[in-house]
Symmetry: none
Subunit: 449 residues, 2 copies
Amino acid sequence: MNAIILSIGDELVLGQTIDTNSAWLSQQLAAVGCPVSAHVTVPDDQPTIERAIRDSAFQCTFLIISGGIGPTEDDLTRQALAAVMDAPLEMNERWLGVLKDFFAQRGRTMPEINKIQAMIPRGAEMIYNHAGTAAGIYALLSVGDLVNSIRREADVAPTPFGEGDRIRCQVFVMPGVPREMMLMFRRDVLPKVERLTGGAVILSRTLHTFGWGESQVGEALGPLMDRRRNPSVGTTVSGGIVSLRINARFASLDDAKRELETTDAACRAALGDLVYGRDEETLPDVLYPLLTRRSAPRTDLPPYTIATAESCTAGLLAKMLTDVSGSSAYYKQGWITYTNESKSQLLGVPADLIQQHGAVSRPAAEAMATGARERAGSDFALAITGVAGPTGGTAAKPVGTVCIALGHGGGVASWQFLFPGPRDWVRDRSAKMTLTILRYHLLGKPLPF
Amino acid sequence: MNAIILSIGDELVLGQTIDTNSAWLSQQLAAVGCPVSAHVTVPDDQPTIERAIRDSAFQCTFLIISGGIGPTEDDLTRQALAAVMDAPLEMNERWLGVLKDFFAQRGRTMPEINKIQAMIPRGAEMIYNHAGTAAGIYALLSVGDLVNSIRREADVAPTPFGEGDRIRCQVFVMPGVPREMMLMFRRDVLPKVERLTGGAVILSRTLHTFGWGESQVGEALGPLMDRRRNPSVGTTVSGGIVSLRINARFASLDDAKRELETTDAACRAALGDLVYGRDEETLPDVLYPLLTRRSAPRTDLPPYTIATAESCTAGLLAKMLTDVSGSSAYYKQGWITYTNESKSQLLGVPADLIQQHGAVSRPAAEAMATGARERAGSDFALAITGVAGPTGGTAAKPVGTVCIALGHGGGVASWQFLFPGPRDWVRDRSAKMTLTILRYHLLGKPLPF
């Protein structure tokens, strides 16, 4: 049993879009014990797509296709699949109804060209798209289908295949839009694959850290990162977050689960509270139980409340805090004080303090946090002021200099960091460090850097 | 003339590494007029690599391989190529010398396993690696090589091919490490490809729109999206932004440039001001010249000033506005009024207005914008209030209901939208629509939706 992942789109073979779907799909398939034997990417050209479907279907149990089912003329995947099956495209009335409702809800009439998104090759099944207008397709390709597709291309009469014609490959066609594809894959594709797997499994988990560099994390992990180890531990970095990927390959699910947990515990023992979460968890996610006090010994206390005061990040910190559904339980209000005047006017930062220390200074950050906490009447206030660049740096305060303050019941604490890098990088790291400072405060632990 | 890009590595088909090499190589090849007809990725398994080399070599002029030439046991690309060529691997003494020097300079003796990195199939050429220890390989595969490789796999005696055997494909093997691969590609691979392309070029451009769905954009473009057209026009969607990719394939750079501009103009004529920018340009980027009045007839006027008041987006709008370096010329300050109390306390939204219309209402958005503009003393104020979800929706105001207001010298205008979708989606579209509203106001045009 194996899978091939076929991605379709001019933008991919032209190099205008980096294919992230294939890696994600490979991970999902490996996790249920279905090895991926190839990734193939072809342009929006019908004969090329037909050949890619046929050649891949000969070599795999599951052909996972994404892309080319949009409403426009360059979307040709459904036509290519129908041609390989030698079946006409037929209107799926159920999906047509969904499409019409979709547009009606938005007060619009469905454009004529969207009708193609409800067309399914005869003999195939429609897969519901819970996040977009393109229906997916599930089809079974037999050896006869594939052989006759080659014969037709070579202008040779097709061979009759009978009832006993062997199914060679299960084909799934999904949208190329990652969000739609992921939802459809999890709901309707993966269960069909899992029905055939069973046996050897690869379980994976990712642990996330923020604050140390990759080599520092690697040194702390030591022999856990040995290449021959099973489960294996590898590190990757993205957006300043150093993640540990644990892969456990075992014959039984029980063994894989147990060994994964043992290695997870060993990694956490090596890194302590630097590990803030796993898999899809983000820094804002893990603040939720801490701020609502759901993870506290006493769960009868009301949530903490929090306010923000931002200069260089200009709303990014508040945006991250409120990425979490339910964050209104603790997040109250915030100020974006981009100018010096607004720092004084809105938060009461004394103009002579800014004059003396500069707007990017620990005293200014502390005054912002204190002013925000007083005005919001909140338990905590977080403040950020820094030089995001690319201009505005000085010898004493180069681009990437960021001051962060945390106002709390016992007063106010502040830190100065240097995050050298491009503008979006400086802003992102500043906001993540501020969330990390709050996290360590709520855990009652000192910062590990 | 065409190329296929073949990437080799378990980490790629397992989804642990995202393949960025293929997109980069595609861009480089397109720029010199060599279209890429497929990306193929296979694991570190010698028979699989042999088959991938053979199948691809039949279909392309240039086979660009990366990965699998490291020193360890799982690096099998050179062995697979030698097998397809039916040639032994021979020690390249020149590269062996380079390797020994490399280790000697670091005070180390060359480990025995690194010797394999100097082995080249007989009849192939070594390509110098200026950034690492793995030598690259340049080989010519003839039709006879490929046919006989298939015959050997099927245990059939090879056919003798003579002097006249036609060269089918030029093969380049490069390291998978992006830095080493890029350097080798630019120095030693691209010049050989350019010798055959002889000036034919593909020029690409992307135009971005926001506000219409993909099908609506497609209908407006009409025959411009004809698949046989050159330059071709295709659409893609990402983050609500519908982008038009224009690809012009012509024999000369002059022709490609001229035709690209003509098609660009035709697309803009079909879509009007819906096209907000091209290539790397973002919505915040294109506001810069409008807000600083650099694009105005009179450039002696000072920049406009702007403030923000956000509820459901909680800082995302301000973050986007300030993504642009130099945005402090116009962006002054903002309020994040997540609670009803803070809307009244910080922006003076009357409590009974919220009582009567709800916090998510056009009157509330207008009061937020007016309050922000008065307090900031700015030319413009933008306000957003909505139901980001996943909870909090009602029958009258379902999740995705968003009210946006623009306060300006002439008063205040407001709109209500429905952006149904997940939380991050609702917040992202709300902020982008607000930027779009400001853009149309600065252009002096009515909104096209």
